[in-house]
């Protein structure tokens, strides 16, 4: 074990002891992540009743299987005690790991780079030894310049050099864990104080919040104001496909006074008093027709791109009213068993009448319905901040964290150079970079006869010391090695 490993381990703090020590175990983290992944996979495979309703489960699996899945808790997996316990243990593990292992590492950032003796460098995953005719100062200066060119920060102390790359990447676990813990906090706040719901509201009707959904452990408050749907419409592409849905909403307080109005559409919600109201769906709900002056509302059913209402006239004849949206004329069909398909009788624009035998029928209006999704999410700012931390954290994690140490000693008229280095992440890439660097530096002294390909290939071999006896020149590579990945510190 190289000295730095001891330094890293010494940074750990012990908070959970005895049987509780398991909560800060990385092995437990991996087991919990795997269990969580398997559980979520199961929940993704089986339609969740809370999202799509029980009918969807029955439709997919049949009644018998659906009952079994329901009894096993799989149809509402994300609300089962098992899942909640899993989340709780994972949270505890994350908190323990963060406090004991992740956050204390921040202290290491303040520590100066350590220096090592020549013999210690041989214990590093990447190590090499060279001899050179050049003087130690010249060699040290050349290494310093080359490492700085590659983005390393270097510190020289006598005949020793320590260099570091990607220190900022070391913040990655801390920032990611802060993000994950903040996410947990935000979600908890929302769970305790937030609410949500969905309501189809007819044009001219109100949205209220009395039947909102919220958790059992809830300390929030529901709004006393309501939302009136002034109008709602659908916009189509030229091809007839729906392009957008719009609703004009007014917020009305207890006294009936309009506080604010706004047009919403999909991806463009109304926000008021901590509640967001979203355009979620749209459809035609009713048509109002009058027969000899008596108005009657007929419920519409979606039929593909159209909506239809059915009015039985007698045992065999059905009158079918069909519309596409509130601006289009009403189409009237009749259906009898002996006819293969309904027959179009006529089209009636809104406000117009026609005679059906002795009955005068007037198309009064069509009533659209707008699907409004609403929610109050007090923890959202914390959740969004957490998202920011997580994104920054995982991006920093991609930065490799690298160390290089050089010791140059006088040997006769020349020098011997000891090199040690390690990279916590992309180790082969690091070995390649170091090998190229060694070859490049060797090339600075033209009398040296080192062949670059030898360095290139050997430096990424594993753990074996290589003696290059072919080049008995003044500056030669004596050993190069890199250890197997899982033997690394």
């Amino acid at each position: 074990m190289v000295p730095e490993t001891a330094q890293l381990k010494s940074a750990n703090v012990k908070i959970f002891r005895g049987p509780f020590a398991i909560f800060s175990s990385v092995r437990l983290t991996v087991v919990l992540l795997t269990l969580m992944a398997a559980t979520v996979l199961l929940g993704a495979w089986c339609p969740q009743e809370s999202a799509v309703g029980q009918e969807k489960v029955i439709e997919q699996f049949g009644e018998e299987m659906a009952v079994n899945l329901h009894n096993w808790g799989i149809t509402d997996l994300f609300h089962t005690p098992y899942f909640l316990i899993l989340v709780a243990v994972l949270s505890l593990n994350m908190i323990a790991g963060s406090l004991e292992k992740v956050f204390p590492k921040l202290l290491l950032l303040k520590l100066p780079l350590p220096f090592y003796q020549a013999q210690q460098l041989e214990k590093f995953p990447f190590h090499a030894k060279l001899t050179s005719s050049a003087q130690p100062n010249t060699i040290m200066e050349a290494w310093q310049i080359q490492l700085q060119k590659r983005g390393f920060k270097t510190v020289v102390r006598g005949n020793q050099l320590a260099a570091e790359f990607g220190k900022i990447g070391r913040l990655a676990p801390t920032i990611t864990h802060i993000g994950l813990l903040s996410l947990l906090l935000g979600v908890t706040i929302t769970s305790w104080t937030g609410f949500s719901g969905f309501k189809p509201v007819r044009m001219g009707s109100d949205l209220t919040f009395g039947d909102s959904e919220h958790s059992k452990l809830w300390i929030g408050q529901l709004p006393t104001w309501k939302v009136h749907v002034d109008s709602t419409k659908r916009e189509d592409y030229e091809s007839g496909e729906a392009k957008q849905w719009y609703s004009n909403l007014s917020v009305i307080d207890k006294s009936g006074k309009t506080i604010t109005s706004q047009e919403i559409s999909v991806n463009n919600p109304l926000s008021y008093g901590g509640v967001d109201i979203y355009q979620s769906s749209w459809g035609m709900d009713q048509i109002v027709v009058s027969f000899n002056g008596r108005e009657r509302a007929l419920d519409l059913r979606p039929m593909g791109k159209l909506y239809a209402a059915f009015l039985p006239l007698d045992a065999d004849t059905i009158l079918i009213f069909s519309i596409k949206d509130q601006d289009k004329p009403l189409r009237l069909f009749a259906k009898r068993p002996e006819w293969g398909a309904p027959k179009l009788i006529t089209e009636v624009p809104m406000g117009k009448s026609l005679m059906l035998g002795s009955v005068k029928m007037t198309y009064v209006k069509a009533v659209p319905v707008t699907g409004l999704q609403y929610k109050a999410d007090p923890g959202l700012p914390i959740v969004y901040t957490a998202f920011g931390f997580i994104i920054v954290g995982v991006m920093l994690a991609a930065i490799p964290f690298r160390h290089v140490w050089i010791v140059v000693e006088q040997q006769g008229p020349g020098s011997v150079v000891y090199i040690g280095g390690r990279s916590k992440k992309a180790k082969t890439g690091f070995a390649r970079m170091m090998t190229k660097l060694i070859a490049q530096l060797a090339a600075q002294w033209p009398e040296e006869a080192l062949a670059e390909p030898v360095f290139h290939s050997d430096a990424i071999t594993n753990g074996e010391a290589i003696t290059n006896n072919e080049h008995a020149d003044e500056h030669k590579l004596v050993t190069v090695g890199s250890t197997r990945r899982n033997d690394h510190v």
Partner: protein, 329 residues
């Protein structure tokens, strides 16, 4: 779709097939191996450029960001696979990954070309997709999927160079089986429950068997090429994981903006979370645990299968959900 865009897409598809065969042939002709590997990479680079122009042209023709249906996402996936390979081969000087990368790109081109004509045509967006969030949320996900594929393919090469042939064969067969389930789910009317069982059951049995047949002796000297592909696999994941994170989080932001909830346990978002968790586990294993490169390779291959399930499986195997506009049946 214009003739010009079609020609560019076809050129990219043919390039991936050609580069695949040149990569394969290079293994049998050692004398010209280096030259052939270089030529195959150049052919793939030409395909990559053609596909870049093709996607841009499609965007201009559609007058919107060209990532709105399954076909367009497949073009992006092939583009990211080719680009990801060129990036990794440039960084590591590896070319053997090329034949698997070009095979993957060619397979996805073929899959895309078999989709119904309505998928190839430029069609209007459904209301849910009319948002600037689409171009923020989807590209990072597709690119991350491609990087995870490359990581899994590097895992296969790591097993090959480490001479773990039985594990390699089992892992390879599992990927083929899973791909078959996806293809059957997309192009046939086979009951999706059987296909789900084939994908999930086959993956579980295949990966557990591959793990069981893996024998790693402690202190065993590593093989240079195997170490290299282990590193490449990690590098690809190191690029893909932040992109997946960005994709999942921007998806949550979009969902909150559009549907009023940033998480609704929709099958596709749940599956993206599963994939995220699996790669989080990979990173924890790699950084904190002393685990062999071969075992990590199997984790990256399992990640590839989860990525396949997230990207194509949930739509083609009939899981449904809010993301079902990725379907075409």
């Amino acid at each position: 779709m214009s003739e010009f865009q079609l020609a560019l897409t076809n050129t990219a598809g043919v390039s991936s097939v050609m580069s695949f065969w040149v990569f394969v042939a290079s293994n049998g002709l050692k004398r010209w191996r280096d030259g052939m590997l270089k030529a195959a990479s150049i052919v793939m680079a030409i395909g990559f450029v053609c596909l870049t122009v093709s996607i841009a042209t499609r965007g201009l023709e559609a007058q919107r960001f060209p990532l709105a249906n399954l076909y367009e996402s497949l073009l992006w996936f092939a583009w990211a696979t080719m680009g990801g390979y060129l990036l990794l081969s440039g960084a590591y000087g590896i070319r053997q990954l090329g034949w698997l990368a070009s095979l993957t790109a060619a397979t996805f081109f073929l899959y895309g070309s078999w989709l119904p004509a309505s998928q190839h045509e430029i069609t209007p967006l459904v209301p849910a997709l009319v948002s600037y969030w689409r171009q923020i949320h989807v590209p990072p996900l597709i690119v991350s999927y491609a990087m995870f594929f490359l990581a899994g393919l590097s895992g296969l090469l790591q097993l090959f160079h480490a001479r773990r042939y039985m594990s390699l064969a089992l892992a390879g067969a599992t990927i083929v089986l899973s791909g078959t389930a996806i293809a059957l789910g997309t192009f046939t009317t086979v009951d999706t429950r059987w296909l789900q069982a084939l994908f999930v059951g086959g993956s579980l049995i295949g990966m557990v068997s591959a793990y069981k047949s893996l024998k790693v002796t402690k202190g065993e000297p590593a093989i240079k090429a195997a170490e290299l592909y282990d590193d490449v696999s990690y590098r690809a994941i190191a690029i893909g994981f932040p992109l997946l994170t960005i994709g999942v989080i921007t998806g949550a932001l979009w969902a909150n903006h559009a549907w009023g909830t940033y998480w609704s346990w929709d099958p596709k978002e749940s599956m993206a979370l599963v994939t995220w968790l699996s790669y989080a586990a990979y990173i924890h294993l790699r950084v904190h645990q002393e685990i062999s490169a071969e075992k990590l390779s199997l984790v990256s291959i399992a990640g590839l299968l989860l990525t396949l399930l997230t990207y194509l499986g949930f739509n083609s195997l009939g899981f449904g959900g809010l993301h079902s506009y990725g379907r075409f049946k």
